[in-house]
């Protein structure tokens, strides 16, 4: 893990890989000998293959996958898609994919991949680069979604669905929503006057804190990693961003108990009328409108996240669809990817599954907005969104962000120390 043999010639790496498979390293398949531009190894095979394929995705809770596949199969009787449904738990989906990639399973042709796994799988050499014969059209897609599917300058997956943070606010107390962070903080006196908390997001030490800390840092003009995946968080902008959260917590503008909040606790507090502002995902909208216990049914609205001088930079959620290098029918998979990203499918995702589309123009579609009233706000949010760090070491990077942001929030270390520790921890994650 702490090896620094980065310059080993590819041949030696290959020999080592072979000699070590018996003892098992966790590492990747055929990609290690690849050299830059052209395709090699498994990625070069079966590019014209056509035939039945299998689509792998986590639990299909809103029943969107089956109708889509039925539709595809009706049109492609010789290239039918079989749906392999995974667990509803992200960790288990991840492990299931890793195991099948390691086994070079040719029956896992095309899979739905969480945006934060894309880089890892690409770096392991498991994902087919989407270029040349297997390329897909990406015009009209939201920038951030394409970025989340891109590793080392190459597109490795097709954006499938998106998600972004939204600011929910009490429209009965705040007539016009704040556009900037400072503006929002100045409105906290209203919260105090009504004896409720001012702002909350997800500040418990888990993935949600990475999302929120990244939003604070990105909104202030900082970044966590640069385009090549290197740690780049040790900047004044990043410090200023994190400091916004830390200061708000210290001032009580973020209530004390918010440090235990995941999405649900925040939603609960907001619905109980205990919060003026809440950063959360679009799913809250319907619940807050319809929940029996919601006290804010008609007294809340949505706005883009506040930033430094305009809309803030939301972190991006959602999934990409990727093609396995071990697939035998890559031409079929390629068509299937185009089908998934098509306007028609994207519209179906939105209406049937309430999944945010990746195509910009659907956000202005009147029929869709009627069904999902948060779309216009979400559009602003996702247009300004920044993917979470695109790095093959995502588990280590998210830990570096969470641990240090959490310590800073709680006042255990200064913002400066937290950011510089974050930088070092991310560097050490990449230096293996």
């Amino acid at each position: 893990m702490k090896s620094k043999k980065l310059l080993l010639p590819a041949a030696i790496a290959g020999v080592l890989a072979m000699s070590l498979t018996a003892c098992g390293g966790g590492g990747g398949g055929g990609g290690s000998a690849s050299s830059g531009g052209g395709l090699s190894g498994d990625a070069a095979n079966n590019l014209d293959g056509r035939g039945p394929i299998t689509y792998v995705q986590g639990k299909d809770n809103s029943n969107v996958v089956r109708p889509l596949i039925d539709k595809w199969n009706a049109a492609h009787p010789n290239e039918k898609v079989t749906f392999k449904e995974q667990s509803d738990q992200a960790d288990q989906q991840h492990d299931d994919l890793v195991q099948n990639f390691q086994a070079k399973n040719p029956n896992y042709d095309v899979m739905s991949v969480d945006v934060v796994w894309t880089a890892e799988f690409a770096a392991k050499g498991w994902l087919q680069p989407l270029k040349d014969k297997t390329s897909i059209p990406t015009d009209g897609m939201l920038d951030a979604t394409i970025k989340s599917a891109t590793y080392n300058g190459t597109l490795y997956a097709a954006p499938q669905s998106s998600d972004g943070g939204i600011l929910y606010y009490r429209s009965d107390l705040v007539p016009t929503p704040p556009k900037t962070w400072d503006e929002m903080m100045s409105m906290c006196s209203i919260a105090k006057a009504h004896n409720i908390g001012c702002y909350a997001g997800q500040f418990q030490k888990y993935e949600g804190l990475t999302v929120n800390a990244a939003e604070a840092i990105n909104s202030a003009g900082g970044k966590i990693v640069d385009d090549s995946g290197k740690a780049a968080v040790n900047t004044d902008q990043a410090k200023a961003g994190l400091n916004n959260l830390v200061q708000a917590y210290k001032d009580g503008n973020i209530p004390t108990e918010a440090i235990t909040y995941q999405e649900e606790q925040g939603r609960q507090a907001f619905e109980d009328g205990k919060l003026l502002f809440l950063r959360n995902w679009p799913y809250v909208y319907n619940l807050a409108k319809t929940d029996g216990s919601s006290t804010v049914k008609d007294t809340f609205k949505m706005a883009p996240l506040p930033g430094k001088s305009g809309p803030g930079a939301s972190s991006l959620g959602g999934h990409n669809v990727a093609m396995s290098v071990y697939s035998k029918n890559k031409a079929t998979v390629s068509d299937f990817l185009k089908f998934i990203t098509s306007e028609e499918t994207q519209r179906f995702y939105a209406t049937q599954g309430s999944l945010a589309p990746v195509l910009t123009k659907l956000y202005d579609d009147q029929a869709l907005v009627a069904k999902l009233p948060y779309l216009p706000v979400l559009k602003t949010s996702i247009q300004n969104a920044v993917p979470r760090p695109v790095t093959p070491f995502y588990p280590a990077v998210t830990k570096a962000v969470q641990d240090n942001a959490y310590a800073a929030l709680k006042g255990e270390k200064s913002v400066d120390t937290a950011i510089s520790d974050m930088q070092k921890a991310i560097e050490s994650a990449g230096a293996k």
Binding site: M1, L6, E257, T260, A400, N404
Partner: protein, 339 residues
């Protein structure tokens, strides 16, 4: 393993004779073969499910995890690691960006090794101390004859029978900010959100769940003490405290030590409660949690950590048996003769 152990005594050939006629040696030999035949399935099975994985883990722990090849952007295999993985944990050294090594920065798993070692031992010490005292008290109550005694004995089995995962969710709910614990005591404590309350929430849940086990083991020890001993002491005018200190404690000590040994070793591998209640946040990362978190960042480094964890637990067990006289083996073998 079993074959090697059988070897020394395989001379005696003949069939079964009446036991009294055999020389002690011969008896042990025939019994020995019979014994190892009976033991073989268990020993072989345990060898497969424990020894093989352990050896596998040790082999893995001397391999590097695959790393990113900077020139291609792809992963490549790691190669032999020597003791690097162990050094990584024990002295908390991580690879520096430019090569060489630096102290693991906060926010890496490596930086948490000694913290989680401390947390693990803290949990162990505190929970076992509470469980011993509370368990002793419960055992003394349960040993008394009173109406409804069997009700109490059934009731203490309830927490014991509830799966730890359910226990964790239950106490997580009780300790929610708006939960019953805060409402009952009129407090505003962020039980799972700040360091000491989180530790205590886990300790309370663990004590609730496992004290019954302790109490029942101690009760068993108490019931071994004949009533006549107490009667005699009472006749001699010993006070309650004297009876406890001079009779109960010494006589129950073997059972107590075994119970403590079991609980200590169990507490040292604590995983379920913190994993579900806090995900290891707020200073509740135990060694077991650290291992599981590391598995997804690299098997081989995780294997080194799990080997270290195993050695630590082994060492504690050794110290217990060797120096504190917790002899579980004796407890299991000393047959009813003592009675």
């Amino acid at each position: 393993m079993s074959t090697e152990l059988q070897k020394p005594k395989t001379t005696a050939g003949g069939g079964q004779k009446l036991p009294g006629r055999e020389s002690a040696d011969r008896k042990e030999a025939t019994q020995g073969r019979w014994a190892y035949t009976l033991l073989a399935p268990s020993l072989v099975l345990l060898a497969i499910v424990i020894i093989y994985p352990v050896i596998n883990a040790i082999v893995m722990s001397f391999q590097k995890d695959s790393g990113l090849d900077a020139t291609t952007g792809f992963f490549s295999e790691g190669g032999p690691a020597g003791f690097d993985n162990y050094i990584h944990w024990l002295v908390q050294q991580c690879t520096a960006p430019g090569g060489g090594s630096v102290a693991c920065p906060p926010g890496t798993l490596g930086a948490q090794f000694w913290d989680s070692m401390g947390t693990t031992f803290f949990f162990t010490l505190v929970t076992v101390a509470f469980e011993t005292v509370l368990g002793f008290w419960m055992a003394i109550i349960m040993a008394r004859a009173f109406r409804g005694r069997s009700l109490i004995r059934a009731a203490v089995l309830v927490p014991w029978a509830i799966p730890t995962a359910v226990t964790a969710k239950l106490w997580f709910f009780i300790f929610a900010f708006e939960g019953i614990a805060n409402k009952l005591f009129g407090t505003q404590i962020l039980w799972t959100g700040s360091e000491w309350p989180a530790k205590w929430a886990i300790i309370i849940a663990d004590v609730w769940k496992t004290t019954p086990f302790m109490a029942l083991l101690i009760l068993a020890g108490l019931q071994l003490i004949p009533d006549e001993v107490y009667e005699a002491a009472r006749v001699d005018g010993a006070s309650t405290w004297q009876r406890f200190r001079l009779i109960t404690l010494p006589l129950v000590r073997p059972a107590l030590m075994v119970a403590i040994l079991f609980r200590v070793l169990d507490a040292l591998r604590m995983y379920d409660l913190p994993a579900i209640m806090t995900q290891g946040a707020n200073g509740t990362t135990t060694l077991s949690i650290l291992v599981v978190q590391q598995i997804r960042q690299g098997f081989n480094t995780a294997a080194a950590l799990s080997t270290i964890t195993f050695l630590v637990i082994f060492l504690v067990a050794f110290i217990f048996v060797r120096f504190l006289g917790a002899n579980a083996v004796d407890a299991a073998t000393s047959s009813g003769k003592a009675k």
